[in-house]
């Protein structure tokens, strides 16, 4: 026990973790505890809630700060034993990374669930009250339910098949697929994925329209920006690059040492990229990094008012 509390060891089979890998007991138990905590937080006075959230944030943040500050074991073998208190802390931190990582994954997954819940709540209310455009809400809820059913149906059906059966289905032509496969394919690949692609492709129209209307030579700066953008765009096109460079080769007469080789499209694009774009982006990234660090410190230390009190 002690420092090795979080070390990963094989668990004995039980109701919660049976020999066939059943984890439904764990899921049910965790959900009950999770909801109890949530309800407790909801009914807690705002001042108390602030301290609970700030404390939780601080402990989680402290873990990663310690992980960064304390040297972690390198090339550690499973049977390595810590020598002294410092190594014990180091080993414990290393073991706990998995637990904290798992917690962060669960929290983000909960956010996804919260999104689904929020979406469902708003749109079901809209349907019940028959507010404006409630038909679209019916489409949304219907589509959500259908794709959940189709996805789970496929997973569960295939889980109970033997390999030969699964292989035989895999070799079938799409029109001979069983209903579970056809429905999932129609909803996921046929509709969702293609609508996703269609939505994204609309951007091309807006980019063109915006370029035509907004990309104007209004000042010296705008002219420089326009010329740079055109050169970089042209450098992406193999045919344009080929003929441009052939033009330069006519001037240089194939002399690799000629100064005019610098006017080749790739050279110009590389110059723009490495001398202006990359340093500019580095500067922006650096600024964002410093800002994020400041923000993280404020959140960690509970200095952000909105994080705890509201």
């Amino acid at each position: 026990m002690g420092w090795n509390l979080l070390a990963q060891t094989a668990t004995e089979p039980s109701f919660f973790n049976g020999p066939n890998g059943t984890i439904w007991g764990w899921i049910a138990g965790t959900m009950l505890v999770g909801f109890a905590i949530l309800i407790g937080l909801l009914y807690m006075p705002a001042q108390g809630r602030k301290y609970v959230i700030a404390g939780f944030t601080f402990v989680c943040g402290l873990f990663y700060v310690l992980l960064w500050l304390v040297p972690t074991p390198h090339d550690r073998n499973p049977d390595d034993v810590p020598r002294g208190k410092v190594e014990e802390i180091s080993f414990w931190l290393s073991d706990a990374v998995n637990v904290f990582g798992g917690l962060s994954n669960i929290l983000v997954a909960m956010l996804l669930l919260l999104g689904v819940f929020s979406l469902a709540r708003i749109h079901i209310a809209k349907i019940i009250k028959q507010q404006k455009d409630w038909v679209f809400s019916v489409c949304l809820i219907g589509a959500m339910v259908l794709i959940i059913i189709a996805g789970y149906n496929k997973w569960l059906t295939e889980l109970n098949m033997d390999p030969a059966q699964l292989e035989a289905i895999g070799k079938l032509e799409p029109n001979a697929w069983p209903f579970y496969k056809k429905s999932q394919d129609f909803l996921f690949d046929g509709l969702l994925q293609n609508m996703d692609a269609a939505m994204f492709s609309v951007i091309a129209f807006y980019i063109l329209s915006a370029a035509y209307r907004a990309f104007r030579v209004r000042s010296v700066e705008a002219t420089i920006l326009l010329a740079t953008a055109l050169l970089v765009m042209m450098s992406l096109l193999g045919l344009v690059t080929l003929y441009w460079n052939m033009g330069v080769d006519l001037i240089t007469r194939g002399d690799p040492a000629s100064f005019w080789n610098n006017l080749k499209l790739k050279e110009i694009a590389d110059f723009i990229g490495s001398s202006f774009r990359a340093p500019g982006l580095r500067a922006i990234d650096f600024g964002i990094g410093v800002g994020a660090l400041a923000m993280a410190l404020r959140l960690w230390l509970g200095l952000e008012r909105a994080g705890g009190s509201n």
Binding site: N105, D196, L230
Partner: protein, 323 residues
């Protein structure tokens, strides 16, 4: 007699007021026509693409890599081509891979479907089928990219002890029991960590893993400019950017990098990149990149024309105003 207002419009004003629908129709036409034309456009691969190709071609046969696939159909124009080229190389070199996603819940399923198509292509070409569990496994979707990256950096065994995939008997088992993950205890045991992404997930992975394993990236054009910083600082050992990156990969798969053909000539001359890397003769190499590269020419060409027309319109209108 009064003339209609439209006929009185100056030429410059006319250039400035081309209806939006005309541009939209032109985009549709120019993006569609090249899909039916298959030509090999001259291309000199970028150095970053060549470095990526070399790293992939020198991965030890039979080793394991992780492919973090964070793209869906919204960016398939670029990402699918990158994913296909990457998978073709890995499969031809018998490299085992485990794929995972951190950016989008759909991404794993999209990758699985793409793999099915690539497998069908292999079987059609007489190559062996790449088998789930024995040759590749799906590690799953992890919504907390930062935490997962840290876990992977600490211990592969702990990071994926809860991940399951179906074995050859269609039974769900821990991925750690699969031949793919055999002997992989630390991230450094992988021969590479490859990210195919349309988002910032590559930055999150780099921040946590770049000093522990060889990292390679295949990103969309939008993500390219900021990701290239990690390539120039040698944190990424190879990088394919956007559709040009896809075409670069396909060109090198077909012709090699600085690799002379039977007559002793190179298909193209890379000035700065000098490493010689062979090609894959007799295989399907030119695919989506080749198909879409002409479309890129047409659509960027249209955009350049639109910008020029708009600016001529402004200049003519200004000139008329000054008179």
């Amino acid at each position: 007699m009064a003339m209609p207002e439209t006929t009185n419009k100056m030429f410059g004003e006319k250039l400035l007021s081309i209806p939006r629908w005309i541009w939209f129709v032109l985009v549709i036409i120019l993006a569609t026509i090249p899909q039916f034309v298959s030509i090999t456009i001259p291309n000199v691969p970028e150095d970053s693409s060549a470095a990526l190709y070399k790293e992939l071609m020198t991965l030890p046969e039979g080793s394991t890599v992780i492919v973090q696939t964070d793209w869906t159909k919204s960016t398939q124009g670029e990402s699918r081509g990158q994913f296909d080229a990457l998978m073709r190389i890995l499969m031809r070199k018998n490299i085992k891979f485990a794929f995972m996603s951190v950016a989008d819940p759909q991404a794993s399923e999209v990758a699985r479907n793409a793999l099915k198509e690539l497998n069908a292509e292999r079987i059609k070409d007489g190559d062996r089928e790449y088998k789930r569990w024995e040759d590749y496994v799906s590690l799953g979707y992890f919504p907390g990219a930062e935490g997962k990256g840290k876990e992977i950096g600490e211990s592969m065994l702990d990071a994926f002890k809860a991940s399951k995939d179906k074995d050859q008997n269609n039974v769900e088992r821990s991925v750690l029991e699969s031949p793919v993950m055999k002997g992989i205890e630390k991230v450094g045991d992988l021969s590479a960590f490859i990210v195919v992404t349309a988002s910032k997930s590559i930055t999150i992975a780099l921040e946590r893993l770049q000093d522990k394993v060889k990292m390679l990236g295949l990103v969309t054009g939008v993500m390219g400019p900021e990701t290239v910083n990690y390539y120039t600082s040698n944190q990424l050992k190879g990088l394919s950017i956007g559709l040009k990156g896809v075409y670069d990969m396909e060109t090198m798969m077909e012709y090699g990098a600085n690799y002379p053909d039977s007559s002793g000539k190179n298909f193209y001359n890379m000035k700065k990149y000098t490493d010689v890397v062979p090609n894959w003769p007799g295989k399907k190499n030119m695919d989506r990149g080749t198909k879409y590269y002409l479309t890129l020419h047409f659509t960027i060409g249209l955009m350049i024309i639109a910008v020029i027309i708009g600016n001529i319109g402004v200049l003519l209108t200004r000139k008329k105003g000054n008179e």
